[in-house]
Structure formats: structure tokens, C-alpha cells
Symmetry: C2
Subunit: 308 residues, 2 copies
């Protein structure tokens, strides 16, 4: 194991770890919960951080829910008191990007959405009109002659694509036809090729993006999820007083979460092994990604060891 | 335009073209029909070839139907008298490949199918037990706890994947979990990234394969469709008297049909512009594929010009 990766495995190390940072940014799937299961001692760890006056933020590549809907997800898991302002999702980062970093005019340009309601709601919140997405007519079988979604609407200037757990051929065909229009821009919420579930791992947004990109012959789209720094820019815009060296990113993936923290110059990165990565990733470096400075079996170890 | 590509645009050239070959191998989608529409003068051209004692075979990457079902498709288009033995599909070629070129034992090894009924029926015809595929339980919403398809069946030794126009997240998740088992082999029917429809082009098998390959982290699978020579091997096995230099491949794609004919050493390749490729592909060579020795706007031109 690389000597620079410290395992959180005793009370002293955990105390030093907690003293090193004022702000903790958490990935959610695979860190706080796995699919529909809350992971052990997550609530206790978050309560402990609050008691120690740490700032706690959530930075998720999951685009399927809006930040508003995400607060309900926390509440359903028994994690109370989380506000929309503490949540940064890839759909929110995408909306910020579309509004501020493209030439689209949200008062008249439309966006075709391949993905779930989180994308629609965040884009709408910054003023865009969205079509496609969760429109129930897209659940009808694909019929070239009968689809109400083609020919393409010339007011659509961009396709925003994310994970769609209701993926079907109708959605793929219409999205494909928008992508065949060279003037239509193409942006992805995130590029995670898998996402954790319990007990089964599942294909992720990045794999669906790959289908769309391959079929349409497009270049890979820009994406707004970790490890892209667009998400961190949104965090520092919202909380300008944060000091990077006093922030720690906590996640379960080297190629998104940990890279995000390292690229962003955050003082700490904690890898937890309760999601995608297994312990081997710390010794078999064939994956080619930089290692974090801390790791733990699970987030709840912070509480368990601190309480000892 | 490359001087070596002869356009079928007058009676004399068409007569020379027909005299040069005894056997014509036809791609179907984009050549004979486009989606649900028969292309003009296709029946007349096939009748003409029959009258001239030419052998006519059909070589399609479409895996969705069995050869038996394909004969009905011809019949529904008014093309009568085509037999199963004259049709070579990528699902048939895949079944031949699985039976003869893998270490699987069709009497006991099972195959998980991602795709339509053509794949199931051809694999079953050579003796394999298939699971997945068109099982209606796969149309239920994906539910990690409730799916009857996981955990994986240890008797499954291979995933065969093809185009699935009823693609959904349940199918993707189960197929993904089979692909995460290193011992399970992985074979694709074909790798066309698009397939023609009317009026809209659609994402093809190769794009879905890409989703599966990307998400599972697998290597690209071997594939049994054009331009792979496995399909031509099946043709020459069935018709050992054919002479390659007297065969002409007719298709609408440079990267599958025409490459298939060139790689197989067939005497002729006729590109028709009624499907995927447009005339520009003959002058703008940035696609990087070899050109055919003949082209025509559409197959029906053979009949129209011959009759002049």
C-alpha cells in the first residue's frame, strides 16, 4: 500500500483527521447509502460533525433528482435538517453551466432532455424550457410515423443527457435525431459508467452517454459532474469563505470523487470502501488514478472510532 | 470521384455489370426496403435476376428476426419465394459461431440473450438453452430485490447481445451483472452503430453493445455480422460451389457491406445510396474505408436501366 494513504483505524488518527478540516464534502451513493439502504452509523457521523461545528455539504453526480427532491431523500433515510443550499448535484451544476457558460438564451432557447426529473427541474429553475425528459408520451412504443417528438423542434439548441432509469428506444431515437443536427449542442450531466446499488452494481450515466455519442457520431460532450471542476466552482460560488486546504472530499470512487478533490486542491480526500472501489485499488495501481490521503472501510468508522 | 467506381447509369454498363457475376448477395435494410417501406423497383430487379439465372442470397446484420421469420418479412413486402436457406442473418451466423467456434456445450451451457427473438430462435435451433431475451418478466420495472433474473445463473456461460428495440433498464442491469462475471463469454451479433428507418435514422446494435461494454469494463466482443467474415464463411459452407470472383455484394454501408465484400475477395461490390451512405462518401474519403467498384442511386436502377 502506498505509504501516503492513511487508514482511519484508530481513535488518535480519527481525531487528527477531524482536526485537519472545517468542511466535509460528501458524495452520497456508496458513501451515505447504497441504493435504498442507509449505510451503518452515517447519521451518527453526520451528527458528530455537526457537534464539532464542521460544515457539511453534499456533492453528488446523481442527476435524477432536483436538489429540492434530494432533501426529501435525506429525510426518508432519517437524515434530518439538510437544506437545498447544502446540496450540489450534477443536474444543478449543468443548469448553472447552461445558463452561464453557453451562448444559449434561457428566455427563448429550448433544451431536449434525455434523463430524469432532476435535470428538467434544475434547468427550468434557471429559466429554460425543456422538452422530452419525463414526458409520458415517450413511454409509448417508438413509431417513426406516430411520434409527436419528430421532426426536431428548431427552437431546441441543446441536448442535455443524464442517467435515465426509464431508458427506452423511443427516447434513444428522438435524442439521436436531435444529436444528428450539427447546430444542436450536447452536454452531459456526468460520466460515471456505473452506479452503486444493493446488492447489484448498475450501468451508469456515462454508459448511456456512450450509446448516444457512438450512435450519433458526436464528439464526447462536456460534462458537469465530478471530476469536472464545474461542480466545485458552484460550491465556492455559494460559499466563498471556504478554504480549500481545510476542505475534505469524501467519496467511493477514485476516478470521480477523489480526482475531483485532488484536482480542486482540497486539503483532504477520504476514500470509503462501501461503494464502487475495493481495497485492491490502493495497492494495484493499474487503474492509473491518484490515491487519496485517507481511506476507511466505511464513513461510519469515523463515529465508531471517535466514540471509543 | 475515384475513377475506379463505376456508376450504373446506362443500359450498356448495367448489361456488363450483370454479365460479370453469377451470384448477388444483398443487404436488406436500406437496399431492398427502408424501415417498413419497400424501395422502388426492387421486386422487378429481383425478378430480372431470376430470369437471368442469377443466384440471389440475402446477408443481413439485422438480428431481430430468425431466418424463418425473415421469409415472412420478404413475403409481406410482396417479395415471394424466398426460402430460409437463401437468408443469412447475424443471429444465424452467431448461432453457427457459438456452436462451432467456442468451447460451449449446447446440451448443457445456457446463454443470456440481450436482444430480440431472432437471436433466441437461431441459438435454440442449434441446441442452446437461452434465458433473458424476450422474457416478458424483463418488461417489469427494474427492482434489485424483486428481479427473478439475479443472482446470475451459474449455468450461463455466455452473453449474446444484439439490437433490442425494447431496451430497458431491467435488461441492461441484468446483462451488466452477467458481464461482470469474468468467466462468462461475450459475443455481439453485429456492430452497426445505426440502422436505417424511414424517415428517421435510428441507433443500432453497435451503440447498445457500446453501452454494455463501457459499463461492464469488458473488452470489445467478437461480432458475427458484416464485415466479419464469419457470415461469409456460413454462406460458402452452405454453397460450396460459389466462385468468389463471380459474386457481387450489394449494400448501403461502406464500413459493413462493402468492406465485407472486399475483405472476402468477392469480384464485385455495389453501393446503393438508398440507405445510410450519401454520394459524398465517394469523394470525401475522410471516412477511411475502401470504395466499391460499382455504385447506383438505388437497386431498382438495375431494372430501370436494363429495361430501357
Amino acid at each position: 500500500m502506498a505509504s501516503s494513504v492513511t487508514k482511519l483505524d484508530n481513535t488518535k488518527i480519527v481525531a487528527e483527521f477531524l482536526n485537519s478540516f472545517d468542511t466535509f464534502l460528501f458524495d452520497c451513493d456508496g458513501v451515505l447509502w447504497s441504493g435504498t439502504h442507509l449505510l451503518p452509523n452515517v447519521i451518527e457521523t453526520l451528527d458528530l460533525l455537526k457537534k464539532l461545528n464542521k460544515k457539511v455539504l453534499f456533492v453528488t453526480n446523481n442527476s435524477t433528482k432536483s436538489r429540492e427532491e434530494y432533501t426529501k431523500k435525506f429525510s426518508n433515510f432519517g437524515i434530518e435538517g439538510i437544506t437545498k443550499e447544502e446540496i450540489f448535484s450534477s443536474s444543478f451544476a449543468t443548469a448553472i453551466y447552461m445558463k452561464n457558460f453557453t451562448n444559449l438564451d434561457s428566455s427563448k432557447d429550448k433544451i431536449w432532455v434525455f434523463g430524469e426529473s432532476g435535470i428538467e427541474k434544475e434547468l427550468q429553475e434557471v429559466g429554460f424550457t425543456t422538452i422530452g425528459g419525463t414526458d409520458p408520451r415517450l413511454n409509448e412504443p417508438w413509431d417513426q410515423q406516430a411520434t409527436p417528438f419528430l421532426p426536431v423542434d428548431p427552437e431546441v439548441k441543446c441536448v442535455v443527457a443524464g442517467l435515465d432509469q426509464s431508458i427506452n428506444f423511443h427516447k434513444l431515437c428522438v435524442t439521436f435525431n436531435y444529436l444528428k443536427v450539427p447546430e444542436v449542442q450536447y452536454v452531459a450531466t456526468n460520466i460515471d459508467t456505473t452506479f452503486p446499488g444493493k446488492p447489484y452494481l448498475q450501468p451508469g450515466c456515462g454508459s448511456m452517454i456512450n450509446l448516444l455519442t457512438t450512435s450519433s457520431g458526436r464528439e464526447e460532450p462536456p460534462n458537469c459532474g465530478k471530476p469536472s471542476q464545474l461542480m466545485l466552482d458552484a460550491v465556492f460560488k455559494a460559499y466563498p469563505d471556504l478554504k480549500r486546504e481545510r476542505c475534505c472530499m469524501v467519496g467511493d470512487r477514485l476516478n470521480t470523487d477523489i480526482k475531483f478533490g485532488i484536482d480542486g486542491g482540497l486539503g483532504g480526500q477520504l476514500l470509503v470502501l462501501s461503494g464502487v472501489e475495493k481495497a485492491e485499488c490502493l495497492t494495484d495501481l493499474s487503474h492509473g488514478f491518484e490515491l487519496p490521503n485517507f481511506f476507511a472501510e466505511k464513513l461510519g468508522d469515523v463515529y465508531e472510532l471517535y466514540s471509543e
